[in-house]
Amino acid sequence: MRGVPKSQGSVLIFALMLTVLTTLIGLSLIGMKKGHYSASQLTIRAEQARLLAHAGVHDAIAKLQKDPFFPSGMGDNQTYFSYKESMTAGDSGRALGYYQVTVDQLLRDKEGLVVIKSVGQTAFSGETSARHATYVELNIKAGSFGVVAWKEGRPPGN
């Protein structure tokens, strides 16, 4: 084309390239923020799962405090049992999650020890659901009833 400088149109290409570049930067920023948002949600769920697991432990301790032979009764050879209870938020009835408790009474007679493992699981809500495990060794000897060891996560030695 006559009279048109060869460089015409380079500004448009430059602008497009810059736009693509800023779009990529912007999208990565948005992705980063979205990651932060998901992380904050997961942290909250993790804390809720932990508290659910603790609720399970306290529930088992309370039951064993009332009856050291809970739930089987005296003379029963079964030493290992498990139960699961769900929890709701106050009167609203909204499901918070559940805890699953296993009570190992293998050392009950010999050492006066009961091992409690509780797993808390928040109400399933897609990616933000969480689980937490708590391990407790409980002394059930008369006069010295109480927690001997308390550990978050896996049992000792694992």
Partner: protein, 163 residues
């Protein structure tokens, strides 16, 4: 007639600038959304405070003995790095079965030092704090600490049940 080019350099830069502003505003809004979401559920800095108190409480729960002073607290309890069978074999109250955990506030950091029955110690920083105090009161202890973040200081208090 002289034709005008599609965009001038100034127009192109202006367009890119406006576009960047819109994207930045969107990213900022998402950032604020995550913060608001935390605040709405009574978490925020509180969440970090909960994590610090939970750590101390976990060690307090596992302890059979506690000692404390200004800016430090030490718990002695079962060494949970060892399985129950090993501890029973060694004797549950014998030194090899026990471990001590000491929390100490030094130069703005809360450190946790764990020492096992063989005397081997491991120290790790737990949190950067503005203040940390422990006040005993019978079988309870009040732990007061402060976080300094985003140009503000927030104070927290937690009660521990001592063994």
């Amino acid at each position: 007639m002289k034709g005008r080019s599609a965009f001038s350099l100034l127009e192109a830069i202006l367009t890119v600038f406006i576009f960047s502003l819109v994207l930045s505003a969107l990213a900022y809004s998402l950032g604020q959304l995550s913060r608001v979401s935390l605040a709405r559920q009574d978490f925020g800095l509180e969440l970090e405070a909960v994590q610090v108190t939970q750590l101390v409480r976990d060690d307090a729960r596992n302890a059979t003995q506690a000692e404390l002073g200004a800016g430090w607290i030490q718990f002695t309890g079962q060494d949970l790095e060892q399985p129950l069978a090993t501890r029973i074999e060694q004797g549950m109250t014998a030194t090899p079965s026990l471990a001590t955990v000491r929390y100490e506030f030094t130069e703005g950091w809360l450190y946790r030092t764990r020492t096992d029955g063989n005397g081997q110690s491991q120290t790790a920083p737990m949190a950067e704090l503005a203040a940390f105090e422990i006040e005993p009161s019978g079988r309870l202890a009040t732990v007061r600490f402060a976080f300094s973040k985003l140009n503000k200081v927030e104070h927290f208090e937690a009660r521990l049940k001592l063994p």
